[in-house]
């Protein structure tokens, strides 16, 4: 993880793709030059770029709806000469229970389960820590905060081997015990992946949330303290509601990050369908059945649905969160 465009306007109402970052760069909304500086060439070039950028995804989408035989023998751009439309690919990768099918259903459940707690745990712990750094005065606060901030520069690769060793020494016995007590929970469970994502997500989360929480007017907090509110009450009644936009931005960023992650899953999930997320399954399919394009295309599209839905549905939070965490990992 490392540091990102650091002082993002997390939470300030700058939303939406057009405006994102404008506050950051001092977008004084003076009257702009009405005259178009762009010429016809510029329009054509940008059109070409836009088309080039879209075509690969478009080809994948088309192919995922074509019958397997056609996908494997004809180019997707010949769809008008070799017409064919089917939902079979999606049915096959999702619902089929045959051994040859990738059976993505189980992995989707895993992805959701991992992303859920892999987001919630760092979010809550980071908000608490951010509050402490911002509003509880103690010696060494700045030093400690800078230390946590600096942790962002440690690449995940630095942490993998030792953390895996720690988990197999301390967490594995607990997992085995849990499996003995509750047999339907497999010995290989979500705990290591959740914990790993929580640990890796914390420095960025603390940093971003601190920036926001520290900007809450001191008068409000002081007034509450004078009225005899405890830190717990201030945290829940004042800080949490006011920090919601920042929390939402980070939550979305972390959710997408965990959903799209491959590295952490590879190391900590064990790779079985008990735990492995969709990305890991897809990466494995590419290796073992790289020619089954009707399945790969459908599978890849399934894995993109949630991030794309978030992208189009919650664009303003999404852009903000993503820009803030651009170099995490």
């Amino acid at each position: 993880m490392s540091i990102a465009p650091a002082d993002l306007p997390v939470g300030k109402d700058v939303g939406s793709l057009e405006q994102a970052e404008q506050a950051e760069y001092g977008g004084t909304k003076t009257a702009r030059v009405k005259k178009r500086l762009t010429s016809r060439t510029a329009t054509i070039v940008s059109l070409i770029i836009a088309v080039v950028w879209t075509i690969p995804t478009f080809g994948l989408l088309i192919s995922s709806f074509r019958p397997g035989e056609l996908v494997r023998t004809t180019g997707w751009w010949t769809i008008f000469e070799n017409p064919g439309f089917t939902l079979e690919n999606y049915g096959d990768v999702l619902l089929s229970t045959s051994q040859s099918s990738p059976q993505l259903g189980a992995y989707i459940v895993n992805s959701i389960a991992i992303a859920l707690l892999g987001t919630l745990i760092p979010l809550v712990f980071a908000t608490m820590a951010a509050y402490a750094f911002a509003w509880i005065k103690f010696k060494g606060a700045t030093t400690l905060f800078v230390l946590v901030f600096a942790l962002q520069i440690i690449p995940l690769q630095m942490a993998l081997v030792p953390l895996l060793q720690i988990f197999s020494t301390w967490l594995r016995p607990m997992q085995a015990w849990l499996h003995d007590v509750v047999p339907i929970i497999p010995e290989q469970n979500y705990a290591p992946v959740w914990l790993a994502h929580a640990m890796f997500g914390l420095p960025l989360a603390i940093f971003l949330l601190h920036n926001f929480i520290a900007e809450i007017p001191g008068d409000i907090i002081e007034a509450a303290r004078v009225d005899g509110a405890t830190h717990g009450q201030i945290f829940f009644r004042i800080v949490l509601p006011l920090a919601t936009p920042a929390i939402a931005s980070f939550a979305i960023f972390q959710f997408i990050w965990v959903w799209n992650d491959l590295l952490v899953a590879l190391i900590f999930s064990g790779g079985t369908q008990d735990v492995a997320p969709l990305t890991q399954r897809l990466a494995e399919m590419v290796g073992s059945r790289g020619q089954e394009w009707e399945r790969l295309t459908a599978g890849a599209f399934i894995s993109m649905i949630i991030p794309l839905a978030v992208f189009f549905g919650l664009q303003r939070y999404f852009v903000r969160g993503l820009l803030a965490g651009a170099t995490k990992g």
């Binding site: 540091i3 760069y25 023998t73 995940l156 990466a283």
Partner: protein, 322 residues
């Protein structure tokens, strides 16, 4: 997946949530009921402890341990062999060279295309939709992007219909289909294209916002002086967005140095396409060469470090100016 499996998974999530809620609940309870003596410190500990414990176990201790492992052989004796291997073995050297190629090309090309696009669509009709198109790949996982582009690079033997777009184009122009991903050194550049495809949107959005921050008075003044669009761009716009350019370049550089999923998904580092992050995984977790993996991780860290420090300095200066 059987119903029992699903039940087990649901149960895990519910239990996970319950345990987590209990931990947080207890913490808050003790924070509010802390003993009068040293109350502030108890409360502080309650708020900070979980995060500090997590980063200590998950990042601080592992980073130190990896740094030490890099200087040890498999029996735990001190040695420099891991680094000697990294800088002498042809495959390892190739990995380092590839990483350098990646970090030279991805940030520059992404930034140039992103900037050109941002300038071209600025204030044009449908600017928002143009932006969405370029920005969308960021939402897609690297694995998904890897599959999308593997499909573009797909090869079928000559005479058969090509199903990969790139070979389709080559054949349409009368060429022979190429096994793109197996062709060294072309394959590394084809993987780099995937990363550029993803990162350009990021560059474009940041630079577009920066361009809109360039004072229009300056542009108008330059126009009155009779400059053409290109001169205005070079002499007014670029200096005006220098800070953002640096941030974009450094940020993409850092992301590029750590690139793993794309290489893993598309070639798994075969055919001389490996990069440091992928080789680290291969050595430490596939070949059980923990020392070599740790050495590579340490090298990665040392490569990222100066860029991050520079990035932070630029950001701090920007803030002071404002």
């Amino acid at each position: 997946m059987t119903t029992e499996d699903l039940l087990g998974k649901l149960l895990q999530v519910v239990m996970g949530l319950a345990v987590f809620a209990a931990v947080v609940g207890l913490l808050i309870f003790f924070i509010d009921k802390a003993p009068k003596r040293g109350r502030d410190y108890w409360q502080l500990a309650g708020f900070l402890a979980p995060a500090l414990i997590f980063v200590t176990i998950g990042l601080i201790y592992p980073a130190i341990r990896t740094s030490l492992l890099a200087f040890q052989d498999s029996s735990g004796d001190w040695t420099l062999d891991n680094f000697i291997w990294t800088f002498t073995q042809p495959t390892a050297i190739r990995t380092l060279i590839n990483t350098v190629i990646w970090v030279l090309f991805v940030p520059t090309i992404s930034t140039i295309i992103g900037l050109a696009y941002a300038v071209f669509i600025d204030k044009s009709r449908g600017e928002k939709y143009y932006k969405v198109i370029l920005f969308m790949p960021i939402a897609i996982s690297f694995v998904g992007a890897g599959i999308i582009w593997r499909f573009v690079y797909e090869y079928k033997s000559p005479g058969r219909d090509q199903i990969g777009l790139l070979n389709g184009i080559v054949v349409a122009f009368g060429g022979e289909p190429v096994q793109w991903l197996q062709t060294d050194p072309l394959n590394t550049f084809l993987l780099i294209i995937v990363m550029i495809w993803i990162q350009t949107g990021f560059a474009m959005v940041l630079l577009s916002a920066a361009i809109k921050g360039v004072p229009t008075e300056q542009l108008e003044a330059a126009e009155l002086d009779g400059t053409n669009a290109w001169q205005r761009f070079i002499n007014v716009t670029v200096p005006g967005i220098r800070g953002s350019l640096v941030v974009v370049l450094t940020t993409i550089s850092i992301a590029t140095l750590k690139v793993f999923d794309i290489v893993r998904t598309m070639t798994a580092g075969n055919f001389n396409t490996s990069v440091i992050a992928n080789e680290m995984y291969t050595q430490a977790f596939r070949a059980s060469e923990v020392g070599r993996g740790s050495a590579l991780a340490l090298i990665l860290f040392l490569l990222v470090l100066p860029i991050v420090v520079y990035n932070v300095n630029v950001l701090r200066k920007q803030r002071e100016i404002r």
